[in-house]
């Protein structure tokens, strides 16, 4: 359940963005997550909804987009897309890799309305 720790960071960031842009009510939050971070979407959505309670992000929809990771072989520098259960380099056959992309969890967009009233923007 590392989703709870991630949700807490995420809500902090969403609240900061909302405050900076005078958003009173957040409707949608889009997050890109690298496959290597092993996030269970349902668990993150639940954690987010719990942590967001009482903040401007309360009731907001969380949309999670999973992005493929990119691995770089330490032996031959070849870059390839590993599977979760297979990091063998297609060039040299070694499984000695560094994840160079798709290892992050990125807050992409926050959508909301500036007024206090309705939820439409």
């Amino acid at each position: 359940m590392h989703e709870m720790a991630i949700a807490m960071q995420l809500v902090d960031q969403v609240v900061a963005v909302a405050e900076a842009h005078r958003v009173r009510s957040v409707e949608e939050v889009v997050v890109e997550a690298g496959a290597m971070r092993q996030i269970v979407p349902d668990a993150l959505e639940l954690a987010f909804s719990v942590v967001a309670e009482g903040t401007v992000a309360q009731g907001a929809q969380l949309r999670l987009i999973e992005v493929k990771s990119v691995a770089r072989c330490r032996k031959c520098e070849c870059e390839f897309a590993p599977e979760l259960d297979n990091y063998v380099c297609p060039e040299c056959g070694q499984a000695d890799t560094r994840i160079v992309a798709g290892n992050d969890i990125i807050l992409k967009t926050v959508t909301g309305s500036e007024d206090d009233g309705g939820r439409s923007s």
């Binding site: 359940m1 590392h2 720790a5 991630i6 960071q9 995420l10 902090d12 960031q13 963005v17 842009h21 958003v23 997050v31 290597m36 971070r37 092993q38 330490r74 979760l84 259960d85 297979n86 990091y87 063998v88 070694q94 499984a95 000695d96 890799t97 992050d104 969890i105 990125i106 807050l107 992409k108 967009t109 926050v110 959508t111 909301g112 309305s113 500036e114 923007s121």
Partner: protein
């Protein structure tokens, strides 16, 4: 209104992790993050390792558990200093918790800091702590299928310790299965078969540790 943000959600953790790393480097301390399931033998391994690494390598331990100071009490017998971090309901150590732990230690007195993570094969793999190397333990009792079941943890390992090797025959453990699974995930990390009880493999593990100190 739609606001473009593009901000790393884990940046707070990662920033603290790199600050931890700088503090450790400044004090010339090798930090080792030990990760595994509960009961794989992390604490017992440290009880045997710390007295064996030699007097010139002073060791401290940061140990994470949900509750109790049991591990810290055990490790306090062998380490220069021990800090128990109780995570409450948290399933992993975070960089901030390690930073607090570092505050409680005199880093200049140390050569090696062992960070015994919360027993868990999933969540600790997602959080950098500022460590130099990651040690992953798998005990014979857990079964020979676990490398493939928890690939991300094993993919990150700098060394894999197959612990409780003395139970291998009793439990009919299939060593080839582990080697085969690791060959798809991580051919860089050496696999060391070890028993804290009989001492088998201890030399190889200690040699590996000393190599890390000289890097």
């Amino acid at each position: 209104m739609k606001i473009q943000v593009v901000e790393n959600v884990l940046k707070a953790n990662d920033a603290i992790a790199s600050a931890n790393r700088q503090r450790l480097d400044a004090a010339n301390v090798l930090a080792i993050n030990l990760m595994s399931a509960p009961g794989s033998g992390k604490t017992t391994l440290l009880e045997k390792t710390i007295p064996a690494v030699g007097n010139d390598s002073r060791c401290a331990v940061l140990v994470g558990d949900l509750q109790t100071t049991r591990d810290a009490e055990r490790l306090g017998q062998v380490a220069v200093d021990t800090v128990q971090i109780n995570t409450g309901t948290g399933c992993h150590l975070s960089a901030a918790q390690v930073a607090e732990g570092l505050n409680a230690l005199d880093l200049n007195r140390l050569a090696i800091l062992f960070i015994e993570n919360v027993g868990n094969m999933v969540c600790p793999a997602a959080f950098e702590l500022g460590e130099h190397v990651k040690v992953v333990l798998l005990s014979i009792a857990e079964g020979d299928d676990k490398v493939a079941k928890y690939p991300t943890l094993f993919q990150q390992a700098d060394v894999v310790l197959l612990t409780k090797i003395d139970l291998s025959e009793i439990l009919e453990f299939n060593h080839d299965r582990v080697r085969d699974d690791l060959s798809r995930l991580n051919t860089r990390a050496p696999l060391i078969e070890i028993s804290s009880k009989t001492g088998q493999g201890m030399d190889r593990w200690l040699d590996w540790l000393r190599e890390q100190q000289h890097q």
